[in-house]
C-alpha cells in the first residue's frame, strides 16, 4: 500500500513536470476519445435507424412460418393460425404485439401500368402496433378490419401506376390450386415511407379478403411478433419456439433479414476496429511522451533504484503515469462527447446526402445513439492498450543499472 501511494504520488507529480507536453498529450487523447464516442454514436444511430425501419416494415423481432416459406414464399407454404399453447405464449409476458399475415407475390395493374409487388393481407388492429404502415398513411384511411375490401398502396407505386386515391386497381396472384386469383380493389389509403423501396414494393389489404381471394380458408403465411428490444430477443425467441412446436419454423429477425442482422454484427466489429485505429494513432504520441519522460529522468530513476526501490515499483510508476494521462484525457473526452451528442439527439438533417443514406436503408435524419456499452468499451480498450503500450518504456526504465543511470550526463 505504501509502495502504491508513493508510486502514485511520484507518477502524478512527474506528469505535471512538463506541463506543455502533458497538456498536448491530454488534448490528443481528448480528441481521440471524443471522436471515438461521437462517431460511434453517429454510426450506431444510423444502424439503429436502419434496423428499426427494417423491423417495422416486416419481420418484427421473431417470426413463425412454414419451414419452406423462405425458399418459396407463395400461398403453397402456409400455416394454421395460432392456437392453444402458442396463442397463450403470444398473449403472455415478453410479447409487446403480434399479428398474422398472408403474404404472397402478386401483380398490380392500373389502367396505365402493371407492377410486381408483395401483397400482404393484414389484421389492421394488430398490425397497427407492429409495423409502419398504419402510422405512415399520408392520404386516405387505414384499413378498418381484416375483411376490409380496400387496398393500401405506397406513394411511389401510385405514381408509377399513374393512379390515385379512390381509383380501382387489379391484384392478381396464384391460389393454392395454381390457378390465377384476381380481383379489383379500390385504393383507400396511400402510405409514405422513409424508403422508396417500401413504397414501391408492398401493398396491404385485409387478411380475410386475401384469404378469400386465394382460397386458403383461415391459413396464414406468417406470424410476426414484437418484443421490447430487438437487441435482446433470446428469451422471447426461445419461448415462442418452444410453444410453436414442430412443423413450423421460428426465426429471430436477424436471421429473417440477414442484411440487417449482419449490419448489426458488422457495426459491433466496426466500432472495435475504429477505436483500435484511433488508439494506434494516439499510442505513438503516448509512447513518445513516456519515452521522453523516462529519458529525462534516467538519473532520478537510478537514484531511486540505488536507494532500494524495486524495479517493479519503477515499472509501476511509469505505467501509472500512462494510465493517469489516459484517464484524464478519456474523462474529458467522454464529457466532451456527451456534451456534443446530447444537443443533437433530436436528429441531424443529412438530407444533403439523403439518397446515399436511403440506398443503405437509412433515413435522411440521423439520430445519434449513445450507448453506455460503447463508452465503456472505448474507455476499456484505450486503457488496456495504453497499459500495454507503456510497458516498453516502463520496462526499460526498470532495467536501468543504478550506477550507470545516476552518473549519466
Amino acid at each position: 500500500m505504501n509502495q502504491f501511494k508513493i508510486v502514485l504520488r511520484l507518477a502524478w507529480r512527474n506528469l505535471w513536470r512538463n506541463h506543455r507536453r502533458t497538456l498536448i498529450m491530454i488534448a490528443a487523447i481528448v480528441i481521440g476519445a471524443w471522436s471515438m464516442i461521437f462517431m460511434t454514436a453517429l454510426m450506431r444511430g444510423m444502424v439503429d435507424d436502419m434496423i428499426a425501419d427494417g423491423i417495422s416494415v416486416l419481420p418484427g423481432h421473431v417470426q413463425i412460418h412454414h419451414p419452406d416459406y423462405r425458399d418459396d414464399p407463395t400461398i403453397a407454404n402456409v400455416i394454421a393460425p395460432p392456437t392453444g399453447e402458442l396463442l397463450e405464449a403470444l398473449d403472455g409476458p415478453g410479447v409487446v404485439a403480434w399479428a398474422t399475415r398472408v403474404r404472397v407475390p402478386a401483380v398490380i395493374s392500373s389502367e396505365r401500368d402493371t407492377r410486381g409487388v408483395t401483397l400482404i393481407g393484414i389484421e389492421p388492429e394488430r398490425e397497427r402496433d407492429i409495423s409502419f404502415v398504419a402510422g405512415d398513411i399520408a392520404e386516405g384511411d387505414f384499413l378498418s378490419s381484416r375483411d376490409d375490401r380496400g387496398l393500401i398502396v405506397g406513394r411511389k407505386l401510385v405514381e408509377k401506376l399513374e393512379t390515385g386515391l379512390g381509383k380501382r386497381v387489379v391484384i392478381m396472384s396464384q391460389d393454392q390450386d395454381n390457378e390465377i386469383a384476381d380481383r379489383g380493389f379500390r385504393i383507400v389509403g396511400i402510405f409514405e415511407s422513409k424508403l422508396a423501396q417500401y413504397e414501391e414494393g408492398f401493398v396491404f389489404a385485409g387478411e380475410g379478403t386475401i384469404q378469400e381471394l386465394l382460397g386458403v380458408g383461415d391459413a396464414i403465411s406468417e406470424v410476426a411478433i414484437l418484443g421490447s428490444d430487438y437487441r435482446d430477443i433470446e428469451d422471447l425467441y426461445r419461448s415462442i419456439e418452444a410453444a410453436a412446436g414442430d412443423g413450423v419454423e421460428v426465426l429471430p429477425w436477424n436471421e429473417i433479414d440477414t442484411y440487417l442482422g449482419s449490419m448489426l454484427a458488422m457495426m459491433d466489429g466496426f466500432v472495435i476496429v475504429f477505436i483500435v485505429v484511433v488508439f494506434l494513432a494516439l499510442s505513438f504520441g503516448l509512447v513518445n511522451t513516456l519515452v521522453m519522460a523516462v529519458f529525462e529522468r534516467v538519473r532520478e530513476i537510478g537514484l531511486m533504484l540505488a536507494l532500494g526501490m524495486t524495479p517493479r515499483s519503477i515499472l509501476s510508476q511509469i505505467v501509472t503515469e500512462s494510465v493517469l494521462l489516459l484517464t484524464i484525457g478519456l474523462a474529458i473526452g467522454n464529457l466532451a462527447a456527451i456534451a456534443t451528442i446530447e444537443p443533437i439527439k433530436g436528429g441531424i438533417d443529412v438530407s444533403i446526402v439523403g439518397e446515399g443514406m436511403e440506398m443503405m436503408g437509412a433515413s435522411s435524419v440521423l439520430y445519434p445513439a449513445l450507448y453506455l456499452k460503447d463508452i465503456v468499451m472505448a474507455n476499456v480498450i484505450v486503457i488496456v492498450l495504453g497499459f500495454f503500450a507503456s510497458l516498453s518504456p516502463a520496462w526499460r526504465a526498470s532495467k536501468y543499472d543504478p550506477i550507470r543511470a545516476i552518473t549519466k550526463v
Binding site: N2, I6, R17, M304, A306, L307, G308, M309, T310, S313
Partner: protein, 230 residues
Amino acid sequence: MKSVTCKQLCKTYHQGDIKVIGLDQVDLEINEGGFVCLSAPSGGGKTTLLNAIGGLDTPDSGEIWLAGERIDNLGKGELASMRLHRIGFVFQAYNLIPVLTARENIEFVMEVQGVPAAEREQRSTDILAEVGLEGLGDRRPAQMSGGQQQRVAVARAIVSKPALVLADEPTANLDSHTAEQLMELFVELNEHHGTTFVIATHDQRVMRYAKRVVHMLDGKIVDDEQRDAA
C-alpha cells in the same frame, strides 16, 4: 564486530577497447562505528569499491560481507532490499528526487520501507532540525542551495538509522564553509549514533575528519592510515 569485510575483490571494466582495472585484489575490513575515507586520484578505484560495498556493483571475484552477511552473491531484488534497510547513500550530485519536497525526500526511504506515516513525520521533523534545515521541509530541491540539498540527502541517508552510510564525494559541489558544516554533521552522527561512515573522496578537507584513511591507486590499496580525527 566488522561492519564491512572485503576479501580479494577484483573488478575490471571496459572503456571502449581499453580494459580498466577497477579493483585489484582488495582486502579491507571496517569496524562498526568506523569513520573511513577512501582516498584515491580519479580512476583509482575508490568509487568502484564504494559501489561494490553498497551492492550497486558486483565484483568479478572476491567476497563482500556486511555485518556478517555475504552480499556479493545476492540477487538484484535482495540487493535492493539490503540497500533499503541497511545502507544510507549520499552521492556526489543529483541526490534528491526533484518532484518531492525536502521532507518527502527524507521520508522516501522510510516510506518504501513501510514505516507508518506518523513515525515518518516525527523522524523527518527531528532530522530536519538536526541537519539545520528546520522550516525548510516544504521546499523542493530546486528551491534550495547545493549545501541544503546535500544536507537533505544526508538526512535521508541517516533517518532510517542504517548501520552503514556510504558517501561518494559528498563535498565535491560544495563551498568550503558548507563542506565543513557537512563533515561536522557526519562526525556528530558518527559519534552520537554510532553510524559507520565510508566516504570516497580526494578532498583533503574531508580526510581531516576521518579516523582512518585508506589510500588507493589503480584499484589497489596502497596505504591504510589510522588518524586522529579533527
